[in-house]
């Protein structure tokens, strides 16, 4: 954790991205086959703007907000039960994915749009990896079934979200400095 390099600005920005991710749970985009929320979109924006450690911190704040009972998990859920329940793996994946994506993007001095998309793709893989693992363990589903229930329906939505995050991130990255 970037404990020494954390500035007041960094603290406020990470809290802001955490709050945005929370608000993202209420922005539901109706897309077939399953409606998607804007959460991972804000996760990716956080990774682009804040870099690895701060983005991970912002997602941790988001999860803790849910744990203390703010209804910020998708579908207005809240509480520790969600974190340990079948879909909790995705949330834990958020923290790791934010770190990974942010770090990969910062590896290049000025990441182009393709590098950004590549980084976000890796991040999504991390989220789904964690998510499916917990879904398979908690709901006692086989790995293939978990994959069919927990990954495949979300892929089209996520592709669009990655694209949007890359475009918007590029537009505003130069105006926001951490």
């Amino acid at each position: 954790m970037a404990s020494k390099t954390l500035s007041v600005k960094g603290i406020v920005y990470a809290s802001l991205m955490g709050a945005l991710t929370a608000a993202g749970a209420f922005i539901i985009i109706p897309l077939p086959p399953v409606p998607i929320t804007a959460q991972t979109f804000f996760l990716n924006i956080a990774a682009i703007l804040l870099g690895g450690p701060l983005a991970a911190l912002s997602q941790m704040i988001y999860i803790l907000l849910g744990v203390i009972g703010m209804p910020v998990f998708s579908g207005g859920k809240a509480g520790l039960g969600v974190l340990f329940g079948p879909t909790g793996g995705y949330l834990i994946g958020f923290v790791i994915a934010a770190f990974v994506t942010g770090t990969i993007i910062r590896m290049k001095k000025s990441a182009g749009i393709f590098w950004t998309i590549f980084a976000m793709f890796i991040g999504m893989t991390v989220i789904y990896g964690c998510g499916v693992l917990q879904l398979a363990v908690v709901a006692k589903l086989g790995f293939k079934k978990a994959l069919a229930v927990g990954v495949l329906p979300f892929i089209p939505g996520d592709a669009i979200k990655i694209l949007l995050a890359a475009i918007i991130g590029k537009q505003i990255r130069l105006r926001i400095r951490v």
Binding site: A19, L20, G69, M70, G85, I176
Partner: protein, 265 residues
């Protein structure tokens, strides 16, 4: 906005219980419930229901919390009911699809669903009987040991407060920008996907720039007031009373007995 999992004012013993004890109980429950056998799960479910009544939490609140998850629970139940191996019930049999409703599957599905419901109810009890500020104090305590690993625990508590304060601001900013764009003739509710995506990009990037400007102001204000990172005092100080220790002890004993029973059954 859903209101499940919000604090409900009250004076029941559950409300007055130290949040650290409640938090620990929920964490232990969520780990234990996944590895115990069916009779214990039913027992735990009954205990959860008793606690709901003891905390005088209206059943309507529990219903609201469970409602958005019903589809998911149903999905889990039916996947188990139809895809588990075992003696098939002749009543519903789809030989062409090679799936059948089996008794084993239904039992297993029901058990998984019940476990899940227990976790939800426990979480609802925790959050409806504890104020967010006491909850943050409890989390700060739980995260305490991580200070050794240089996790900025005090900062995390401050950040949670900040994020909670920022949430309504975000919604306000969104409405402001939306109204501004509408008055300038932006098509926000187009039917076509491309139009919608364009509107989304325009709206979101404007909101982001706006809220980051607000965040800058906030950071500046904090620095101007000499905000320093590191060890901080808190408005809410938790203290364990005798009853809290007593209940913690009862919970530990009950947990031990349940685990013992589990290995006997």
């Amino acid at each position: 906005m859903y209101h499940t999992g919000f604090y409900l004012n009250g004076t029941s013993p559950i409300h007055r219980l130290d949040p650290r004890v409640k938090l620990a109980a929920v964490i232990v429950l969520s780990m234990v419930i996944l590895c115990v056998k069916p009779p214990i799960v039913i027992l735990v479910a009954a205990v959860c229901l008793c606690i709901v009544f003891a905390g005088s939490i209206p059943l309507r609140i529990i219903g609201q919390a469970v409602k958005p998850l019903i589809i998911f629970v149903g999905l889990i139940f039916f996947t188990h009911a139809f895809f588990s191996e075992g003696e098939a019930i002749a009543l519903v049999n789809l030989p062409y699809l090679n799936i059948s409703l089996s008794r084993n599957g239904m039992e297993e599905g029901g058990l998984v669903a019940l476990r899940f419901l227990c976790l939800i109810v426990a979480a609802v009890i925790l959050t409806t009987t504890t104020t967010p500020s006491r909850m943050i104090a409890a989390i700060k305590y739980v995260l305490g040991p991580f200070k050794r690993l240089h996790v900025p625990v005090d900062d995390i508590a401050v950040m949670m407060m900040l994020a909670m304060r920022l949430l309504p601001l975000l919604l306000m900013e969104k409405e402001r920008v939306e109204t501004a764009q509408k008055t300038r003739g932006c098509d926000l509710q187009g039917k076509r996907l491309a139009v919608r995506l364009k509107a989304f990009i325009r709206l979101t990037s404007t909101i982001l720039l706006g809220v980051f400007r607000r965040a800058d102001e906030l950071a500046l204000a904090m620095e101007a007031r000499c905000y320093n990172r590191g060890e901080r005092t808190a408005f809410v100080e938790l203290s364990m009373r005798k009853t809290d220790y007593g209940i913690a002890a009862v919970l530990i004993v009950a947990g031990g007995v349940l685990l013992g029973l589990n290995s006997f059954i």
